[in-house]
Symmetry: C2
Subunit: 201 residues, 2 copies
Amino acid sequence: MIRLLLADDQALVRGALAALLDLESDLEVVAQVGRGDEVVTAARDSGAEVCLLDIEMPGLNGIDAAAAVRRELPGVRSLIVTTFGRPGYVRRAIEAGASGFVVKDTPARQLADAVRRVHSGLRVIDPDLAAESLIDGPSPLTGRERELLTHALDGSPVATIAARVHLSEGTVRNHLSAAIGKTGATTRSEAARIAQERGWL
Amino acid sequence: MIRLLLADDQALVRGALAALLDLESDLEVVAQVGRGDEVVTAARDSGAEVCLLDIEMPGLNGIDAAAAVRRELPGVRSLIVTTFGRPGYVRRAIEAGASGFVVKDTPARQLADAVRRVHSGLRVIDPDLAAESLIDGPSPLTGRERELLTHALDGSPVATIAARVHLSEGTVRNHLSAAIGKTGATTRSEAARIAQERGWL
DNA sequence: TGACGGGGATGACAGGTGTCACGGGGAGGT
DNA sequence: ACCTCCCCGTGACACCTGTCATCCCCGTCA
């Protein structure tokens, strides 16, 4: 019997996945949480062996939660199950210590197999995403560029961004100009969108 | 026995919801589709009585799919089940003939109740969203403003948008300026983001 | 020690952007 | 007929933005 923890901020999806996985005779959902920062304690208390983690969660995202599980509970394995198959996510998830990465587009019956493979020590990674992740390579953005791009996501003017990060307007423009060049965009909001699509933020 | 159709583009979520609802003794999932434009024919072929529709779907979105069901199969009721509880969505869904609107944040056990209420002719609408929808009122955007905002979502320059819609650059700037004023934004990309958040696009 | 890259800053400049005033046309009410 | 609203366009203007050149400081690494 494989003991599972489910982490997803959408209660309906969480409950539905639990119903789906409980149908398997060798799987048992022993814990459910809706926030990333509750994963480690819930996994410890419930004695979970495999954690299914969504990426978009309040408190702590699924990738950082996988890293926390890796650090605090070395014997527990993590499987990222997320909506957005952004290439950068795969790389970061594996580097964070996750054992698997599947998107929510995959057929339902494959999920249980993925869980079993992860539990037995294998790695499960969506083949298409793995290829894309290799082609794109790691994020070319520097720390500042990434930070400023996240602030540019909502279309704020440069002056607003500069005030938020306590920098000169010119410096913000310079960093964003570099980010625009690296993403192949022509405006900062387009650059921010591209960077997010690739999982660079 | 209530006969259900599930429409969600994420196969994993769709299958999980099916597993969850099949646990109820009086519910039966008789059809599953991953595209909005397959809803009507699948509902007709399977003899479904209630359709659970996600909004974000390829082919046809869930709101338009609900309208199609209303038109083609008057006896069949629709229940929108979606991730984003944007106020404008609720209004548009009800206007399109949907009988209910719930977000994927709601507890799993409430979904079956919502289905039963919709099947019996009642309306089920998330209370918080209903209130927000009334406060915000309908979209103040004109047709052109809405169209141009959708093109501005990705941060394209005005010249690109003008070329895409075959309009003068000045005209595009004027419409977008009006949209910026109506959304309370200061840039077109911020206006586009705000409009999308409110379900005006 | 010197080279190198990231971060921070300034100044200047061309071009893009948001705003306003003003014009015209057409559809829908009263 | 008149008004109103939406749509389309032009021109002008102040301002914002993206780019480039040129500095500086600091940590790293050969």
